[in-house]
Symmetry: D2
């Protein structure tokens, strides 16, 4: 089973810039994470953008939708910042209904992967598993749980994804 | 959804003993791993034994079967050494057929979790996801892939789990 | 030999705040780092402040000077942000001459300790060693090198401490 | 100041072999550790052997002595297993007296560097600092402390290096 991973940035891929002392994007950590997880799936990774999800525009989301539509794989994982993950999931859920046969799982991290204490590897293992096992549809997989795109919100006070 | 995790030891939980300079078991790392993954599932962890899977006896496997049968949760993850994971899966698959309504996923690690380069966190995220999404049955989830108990073997030369 | 560690914050102790998605200070990582290094020295740690060194005021520096003067230990390590470490070293070097018998070593990190890729543990091991071996005076120990306070600058373009 | 690092193996460099499930040596981690510590010293690393220090023979020790004698650098760090580090230090201390002008510091780790919880990086930062600051002689630097070769023993029960 072939799986496509589309990278959009988010906390997942934030790094510490030594010179400026701030968090910034460089390259995606996805290949390194797949190597660490000794992932034996046939996965192709494509970076669409490297943005903080608060900066993601409608045009950016249109790119994600187009890439999911065009992908020849029917199983797609999208890495995404958590702040607007629900919004992008909604756009995808509306644009790509189950009839298309596509299973799309968005995931991310509460802590950058480059930090020792990141939840990223756990979430990636989870998203790659749900995307294989679930019926067509658009989902968010975070911290062990999986929600259909139209039944989830991010609780801004606790930072936790929860059912509506 | 409640999930039970049964711990049996294996590479997952091996630690470095400073005094003897060898690998040994102390406590399970499961609680720490669930914390790192910021796991939001209702999970109860129970340590059944802490053994190298090469040392696992028929009596040990009978304990695992009994614990899976008795568990009131219908979703169960078993952490296990990789060397005889297939054998334990076979015993479980025969003893606990799909009609019992139980979904059981065995998982482990190629590298101890205490090592920085472990695949353990990835595999745990994967196993906890497959166990929620799959129909009743007994499975092995390793390195992103999931196999039914009767269709898998561990390739001793490459160390990789593969379809029969 | 008793050693005092004075904590002022800096990159060393920056953490990722999950809710805001920014870097911030919580508690110092010094005790955890000493534990990881299995440090067998008699060390007492005292947090004076938790600030980005760009925000350090003259009043803050006066506190550091006073604490170094008052300390009954003659060997003192000061953890400090790298951006103004040279400035604080100059204030200390002027205020606490070698005749006082005090050996003071400032150190820090280019990458927060909480990041897997931090140089913090290496620098801490280095600073605690130089402070034991060097004659009274004020020094900066970073990335394996050690400079007297009046012979060092931070190269803003490369981020590297170098001899004047 | 040029420093030579001679690698002999020891816990420092032990790795987990996925296929056999045991600890073994592959390549040294020294270059990676120097990179992580962003070490700015002029260091040349040479691997002499990769052995558990319990397996180190008189012939092996003769190689270490010869390499220290031949080195054109007067500052030398030797990485070494902890079990017989004191013995090798004694051989070096007898063979290479202070009059030769050489400062030699042996160091190692209680936990393999490849483990997340290793003291290796701390010890390396420490040894590279002591070797610059101390007068000619042979020393052992472990866990923040530094001992002359003829005043130290390893306490087998606690695993701690302590003064005679």
């Amino acid at each position: 089973m072939q799986i496509r991973i589309l990278v959009t940035g988010g906390t997942f891929d934030k790094e510490y810039n030594e010179l400026s002392g701030t968090l910034a994007f460089k390259d995606t950590h996805l290949p390194e994470m797949l190597r660490l997880g000794r992932c034996r799936l046939e996965v192709s990774v494509r970076t669409l953008m490297m943005v903080d999800s608060l900066d993601m525009t409608d045009a950016d989301r249109a790119i994600v939708v187009a890439q999911c539509r065009q992908a020849r794989e029917s199983r797609i994982v999208v890495t995404h910042g958590t702040d607007t993950m629900v919004e992008t999931a909604r756009v995808l859920g509306t644009a790509i209904p189950p009839e298309t046969g596509k299973t799309i799982v968005l995931t991310g991290a509460m802590i950058p992967y480059a930090f020792g204490s990141s939840d990223g590897l756990f979430n990636l293992g989870s998203a790659l598993s749900f995307v294989q096992a679930l019926a067509p549809g658009v989902y968010i997989a975070m911290n062990g749980r999986c929600f259909s795109w139209d039944t989830v919100r991010k609780n801004r006070e606790t930072g936790v994804f929860e059912a509506l």
